[in-house]
Symmetry: none
Subunit: 404 residues, 2 copies
């Protein structure tokens, strides 16, 4: 198990104007190849700060990926900081300079004097050519035990190409790592704490259980070392998480619903009051949704419930717009009018206003109308408006999924 650290350098990352997506990408790439994630450190344009962060990362991990701070301007300080952290000194490298000049020549331009700085590397660095931008990358080995630090540009597109082109082959040659397997159980309708309770005791030698809230979904992950037999663990996890699992290693809920509909040659239409288009919008995040999604009605007002789905105004009067009969009527009405195989109807009180003692905020009625009749479900959600609507959307799709 080789451990790695990531060091992201750039004032824009600590000033709050840019999110560090480089580190996430690097972590995913290395984890998939069997490396173990250590820390991510993000530092701004401070020479001392970068120096300290580099020294600490090299002490923590035998492999450090550094991005950013290799540009031509005065606030690009990474090379100077690296030379200082590891007492290496710097030198202008003819090979690096030739590469930068060639890049400008190819664009029929002269290299601006400022870019000469990018050819200055720590003494002893191994150059990594950048075919996608001006900043050369490099690696250095430092300390005892040795830590190898790779320095790559901060521009994400350049960094990714440099990583794939130079770093990955280098690591594969250097380490022979067994690939760890990760199996992802995507669940909906289950709280993270409940998932953890159900999975209690599943950890063991070579088996790590991880949880990730990806609201409204919860992902339960099995990380298995090589040699661990996966099938019994997958079956046991499936048994414990039961019907809350909507896919193993598959896509989001809307995509799973779409795949099921497509494979059955069926279609769905939606009639949404409180969710007001969120279910339709979620279904159409899936490319090619037109094969199984017909359309629907956003029936925010009572008049639209009557007009678009044929809900009986007297039923609304008697039971209220947020009620079982109205949800059923919405699902059945939209199914009949669109000719879809399945009709989904949702009505509820998302909040913050609109609640009563009898029907508090978070009360939702949903119904699925299909070839074998209509089913209904009532929810009591405890969240704020946005999360109530997000959860309602997911649980409505899940209600349909369970019937497919």
């Amino acid at each position: 198990m080789v451990r790695f650290d990531v060091l992201s350098q750039g004032e824009e990352l600590v000033s709050g104007s840019t999110t560090d997506t480089n580190a996430t990408w690097i972590c995913a790439e290395l984890r998939e190849r069997g490396f173990t994630a250590g820390w991510i450190t993000v530092v701004g344009d401070e020479l001392d700060g970068i120096r300290d962060a580099l020294a600490q990362a090299a002490r923590r991990a035998p492999l450090v990926i550094c991005t950013g701070g290799l540009g031509p301007t005065s606030d690009d300080l990474t090379t100077e900081a690296a030379a200082s952290a590891f007492q290496l000194g710097t030198v202008e490298r003819p090979d690096a300079l030739a590469q930068i000049e060639a890049r400008y020549r190819a664009r029929n331009r002269a290299m601006p004097p400022a870019n000469r700085k990018q050819a200055v590397l720590p003494i002893g660095a191994t150059l990594l050519e950048n075919h996608w931008g001006t900043a050369p990358g490099y690696w250095i080995d430092v300390g005892e035990p040795t830590s190898r630090l790779y320095f790559l540009p901060g521009v994400p597109s350049e960094m990714k190409k440099m990583f794939s082109h130079h770093v990955v082959p280098d690591l594969l040659a250097r380490y022979s790592l067994p690939p760890r397997r990760t199996i992802v159980f995507r669940c909906v309708g289950l709280a993270e704490s409940e998932a953890a309770q159900r999975m209690a005791g599943m950890d063991g030698p070579g088996v790590i259980v991880g949880y990730r809230a990806h609201l409204p979904e919860i992902h339960v992950k099995l990380h298995l070392d090589p040699g661990v037999e996966a099938e019994p663990l997958i079956a046991e996890t499936q048994r414990r998480l039961a019907e809350y699992v909507f896919t193993i290693d598959g896509g989001p809920l809307a995509a799973v619903v779409g795949e099921k509909l497509a494979s059955r040659g069926e279609t769905v239409a939606t009639a949404e009051s409180c969710t007001a288009g969120r279910i339709a919008a979620d279904l159409t995040t899936v490319p090619g949704a037109s094969a199984w999604f017909i359309g629907g009605a956003v029936v925010y007002s009572n008049a639209e419930k009557v007009r678009q789905c044929g809900v009986d105004a007297a039923v609304i009067e008697e039971h209220g717009a947020v009620s079982e009969p109205v949800a059923r009527s919405l699902a059945e009405g939209i199914r009949t009018r669109t000719g879809a195989t399945w009709g989904l109807g949702v009505t509820g009180i998302a909040g913050p206003g609109g609640g009563t003692a009898e029907k508090p905020v978070g009360t939702v009625h949903m119904a699925v109308a299909g070839p074998n009749g209509t089913t209904h479900r009532r929810l009591h959600l405890p969240f704020d408006r946005a999360r109530n609507l997000q959860m309602t959307t997911a649980l409505a799709l899940d209600m349909l999924r369970r019937q497919l």
Copy 2:
């Protein structure tokens, strides 16, 4: 200048499955209030790692914001790590326990035993109530010179509310920072680089211009030191950003549209093909939207365009579903059928499939039908499916806003 560090905790952040957006948000919030960004450290679910990262951050900065690791599962280790880092010991806090139990009681559920763990805090911690989730937050003062560490949940929506509700007032009371004024110009339809070009030269003594991409919006901020006269700067910024500004210091685009409709006593209805409910969903993020939003149609299939909005099938045949006459017909049809003051119609090719040489991916036709007739706009968007739909939604709402 008070320096702060951010510590983000979560295995998902170092494993590459989730990008740490919390740290970016916190950095922006604190920088705007005059604090100086130090490091961001991201650590996984390792007790020793979290402990070391906490100890180091507290040595580096007098203010540390920590997020994550406060949940009920075995991999939630932040409190244990904090107690260990600062030799504090832990205690189950009745006030914290009462808060968690009350949250479950409000949902007519018993607190799962696992959640009891969330009531265990470091000895001496000051509880920060969480009205938006189960994990209580807290702060502790440690070391000499003192560093104050705030511990907040990792779920971004909860973290942001906890930060705004508890941390900000606390910091304002603790530090007497010059009351810098910030004016936010929210824009849509303008790229960040174009906004920066338009604002060139507006920086000056006591005047900092900031940009935040908050897709599909761009926020341009004027940060003014005390004594700087605001009005001429506001007027000049408004002049430069012109009609792209939809509000100064106001809410999101949907809320601005809703306020304008409400003040005019008018209503809107939507007919959406490619956006498939996203415009309706966006409008109904605004509490109380039922006062001015009637509902609408999701007309994904051509048959639904005909059925729900009375689009002429021959027009679809002749011009295609993605065309100016169909967009106009959708807007006019939904306006007439719902009786709304305004009808919004959108049809387009979001991608990745469906494009042709004549109508490439990103082609969108949108129309607004109102008391004085119908206007039309054609877009050519260069993004992927999700961003094309997001941008279409915003530009459709903005098209309506400009007529109000």
